[in-house]
């Protein structure tokens, strides 16, 4: 996919002022593109060896050593139930290390994440009807519509990464 540069035609031509830009790190979950604001991303790396962590929900793949920090590795496809049938995560996957308030988490993704810049105005708040309809939508910052078609779902990591969210065990605490 080509990066959309500042030069891409703005929706409204009379706007001469440079629009406020947002940089995202975009990755694929299931068949959809997801993005996280680059400020929330610490680094992108090939997934290090992950040690399985007993007594954690299945979407926590385990813990890994990321430059001396031990971080939890999370599988969002499993968390959001987006995993296409018969398509397990490949041997070589990538990890996006994202920073929550006081700790770091790794998000495991199947393809190389890529940077992407777009004007803030292109991110629309999520439509009312999807709010609270499923777990995923609670963490949406908005949906970016791309001029050439296609959308990027922008996640708000701060909502996603609260300890109670991460540790929510299926069946144990009823999801609100």
């Amino acid at each position: 996919m080509a990066e959309i540069e500042i030069a891409s035609p703005a929706p409204k031509a009379e706007r001469a002022k440079p629009a406020e830009l947002v940089q995202l790190i975009v990755f694929r979950l299931g068949d959809e593109d997801y993005g996280i604001r680059i400020e929330q991303v610490k680094e992108v790396t090939v997934t290090p060896e992950v040690a399985r962590m007993p007594k954690t929900p299945p979407f926590i793949k385990g813990i890994a050593n990321l430059r001396g920090d031990i971080i939890a590795i999370i599988d969002l496809e499993e968390r959001f139930r987006l995993r296409p049938a018969g398509r397990p995560l490949p041997e070589r996957s990538y990890t996006v290390a994202v920073e929550a308030a006081d700790y770091t988490l790794g998000l495991m993704v199947r393809e190389v994440p890529r940077p992407f810049t777009l004007p803030l105005s292109q991110i629309e708040p999520p439509p009312e009807f999807v709010q609270d309809s499923s777990t995923r939508d609670k963490y949406l910052e908005g949906i970016a519509k791309l001029p050439e078609g296609g959308i990027i779902i922008v996640l708000d990591m701060r909502k996603l990464l609260t300890p109670s969210e991460v540790m929510r065990l299926p069946g144990k605490v009823a999801s609100s």
Binding site: I63, G68, I70, L105, P163, V166
Partner: protein
């Protein structure tokens, strides 16, 4: 190497000089504003501390002067005297005298005579006018002419040492990694450098750990007062003996066990030891003996609280445990006394006043257990009815590095702190029996339940484990026997890897809520290794046993 005496003297000097400097500062403040409450309180506190330190070091005169000044500042604080007139003069003379005496201690010279000063201070305390001779009136400018002194010691916040220790921990992990890589690459120059790095970081680690060590005496010396107070309140006669104040231990460990030790000592006086009448009636000396001692055993530090009191009434504890539903009468009958005493450390167990009265033991002993658990320590109990009880806290010397046994389950390494391991066994299926759905073997004539570590770690849900069978047991079973609170548990693992010193990192959020793991460590190979928390494993097993 400095002797302990020298070290204590230096510590005393450093503190005393600091007190002296603060005293001078607060005195000037008081001179400007005779009603300055904070300055008065500070002076009172400084005198009190200096008095205590001086007396502990055997500098009686120094302690006396500080004591008199403390009394005087107490009177001023209570508005029975005012900071004015001849009192000011005597106080300044007194503080100067303290300074001279402290310096004399530092220079190893005899302390100057302070008889006149003490008499004057006495007069002031009694409310009389001091007798000032001319010498006192002539204020020499001695103070101005004296050289300024800086102490040879620096005070450092424990937080800074903690940080240093963490950094060294990280360094050691990377060092191990470099060592492994160097061995793999097999380049002589790299290997030599790696070995040098190994030695240096070892020294560094040792030095940082050493900087954090304090004598156990720092804590023990607070107990004579506690014992006296509790004994007075209980109207008992107690003689406290202490030994091993020089034994070195990490300052933070000492901090963590402070409450636990306080608890044990109070308990020993108020419940362990009998009243004078009771003692005489049972043919014991009237004065109860309480011993607080510290000693080293291998890499551990043991702190013992021993009394020659009435001892634990094992049968009363056994009945109580059954009453409270902690065990069944049938199971309890088979437990030996150590297993019964372990109930004393169950949360809430001892809160029942009844047990305290009967057995004389156990108000909130679970506090002790919790403190030890958080350190990875152990508690040993020895007791004989009528002869007394000994509680032994087994503590690591340092929190940073722990000896651990590495075991493997499903090709993943797990570390078990050595403090909780008892033995490793290779058992043939014939040596294992199934009792009530639980695998059991006999070790030292005691039945030890066995559980596959895999099952304990990875079986989901809260329901009990499936009843164990021996059907899928092939060949010898590798069993690691762990001991917690005198309860043994055999963990069946795939294989034993090796024994190793590990640096434990705490688990970061959000995983720190899982109590099954005491933390995580990185092996030389770069592999992440979870450190098992034996107390939590034990609890999990008790909750899930079929």
């Amino acid at each position: 190497m400095k002797t302990r005496d020298q070290e204590y003297r230096e510590l005393f000097m450093a503190e005393a000089l600091e007190y002296y400097d603060s005293m001078s500062r607060h005195l000037s403040e008081l001179e400007r504003n005779p009603d300055a409450g904070p300055a008065l309180n500070e002076l009172f506190r400084l005198m009190h501390n200096l008095k205590a330190n001086a007396r502990a070091m055997g500098f009686t005169d120094l302690g006396e002067v500080a004591h008199h000044l403390e009394t005087l500042f107490g009177l001023i604080r209570d508005r029975e005297r005012t900071f004015s007139g001849s009192l000011i003069q005597v106080v300044f003379t007194g503080v100067d005298a303290l300074g001279n005496m402290i310096r004399a201690v530092g220079a190893n010279q005899p302390l100057p005579d302070v008889a006149t000063l003490l008499e004057n201070l006495d007069r002031l305390v009694r409310g009389e006018e001091p007798v000032l001779d001319d010498e006192d009136l002539v204020e020499t400018d001695e103070e101005a002419g004296r050289k300024m002194e800086l102490s040879d010691l620096v005070y450092i916040q424990v937080k800074k040492l903690d940080n240093l220790l963490n950094l060294v921990g990280e360094l050691v992990i990377d060092r191990d990694r470099i060592m492994t890589l160097a061995q793999e690459i097999d380049n002589p120059a790299l290997l030599a450098t790696a070995q040098h790095l190994f030695r240096i970081s070892d020294d560094l680690q040792y030095s940082v750990m050493d900087a954090r060590l304090v004598g156990v005496g720092v804590l023990l010396n607070k107990f004579p007062r506690v014992v006296r107070d509790v004994a007075a309140a209980e109207e008992k006669q107690v003689e406290l003996m202490m030994s091993g104040q020089d034994v070195q231990i990490d300052r933070n460990i000492l901090q963590i066990i402070t409450d636990a030790l306080l608890h044990l000592v109070r308990n020993a006086v108020s419940h362990g030891l009998e009243t004078t009448q009771e003692r005489l009636a049972s043919g014991k000396p009237a004065v109860g003996q309480l011993t607080l001692s510290a000693l080293t055993e291998r890499d551990d530090v043991l702190i013992q609280v021993r009394d020659d009191g009435r001892g634990i009434d094992t049968e009363a504890v056994r009945r109580k445990a059954i009453d409270r539903g902690l065990t069944t009468a049938k199971a309890a009958a088979k437990l030996d006394e150590h297993a019964i005493w372990a109930f004393l450390f169950e949360p809430g167990f001892s809160m029942a006043q009844q047990v305290t009265d009967i057995s004389g033991r156990g108000v909130g002993l679970d506090v002790v257990k919790l403190a030890l658990d958080s350190l990875g320590g152990q508690l040993r109990v020895e007791s004989e009815m009528g002869a007394g009880t000994t509680f032994t806290l087994v503590l690591p010397t340092s929190i940073a590095v722990k000896g651990a046994l590495l075991v493997e389950v499903d090709e993943r390494p797990y570390a078990v702190p050595l403090l909780h391991t008892e033995t490793v066994l290779a058992l043939h299926p014939g040596q294992i029996s199934v009792v009530g759905g639980v695998l059991v073997t006999h070790f030292h004539e005691q039945a030890v339940p066995l559980v596959p570590l895999r099952q304990l770690l990875f079986d989901e849900g809260d329901e009990p484990l499936p009843p164990a069978t021996k059907t899928d047991m092939n060949g010898p079973q590798h069993v690691l026997v762990v001991n917690y609170n005198n309860r043994r548990l055999g963990l069946v693992v795939d294989r034993f890897m090796r024994q190793q010193n590990i640096v434990i990192k705490p688990l970061s959020k959000p995983l720190d809520t899982i109590d099954l793991f005491g933390g995580v460590t990185l092996l030389g190979s770069g592999q992440v290794c979870l450190v098992l928390d034996v107390p939590a494993l034990n609890r999990l097993f008790l909750n899930k046993r079929p």
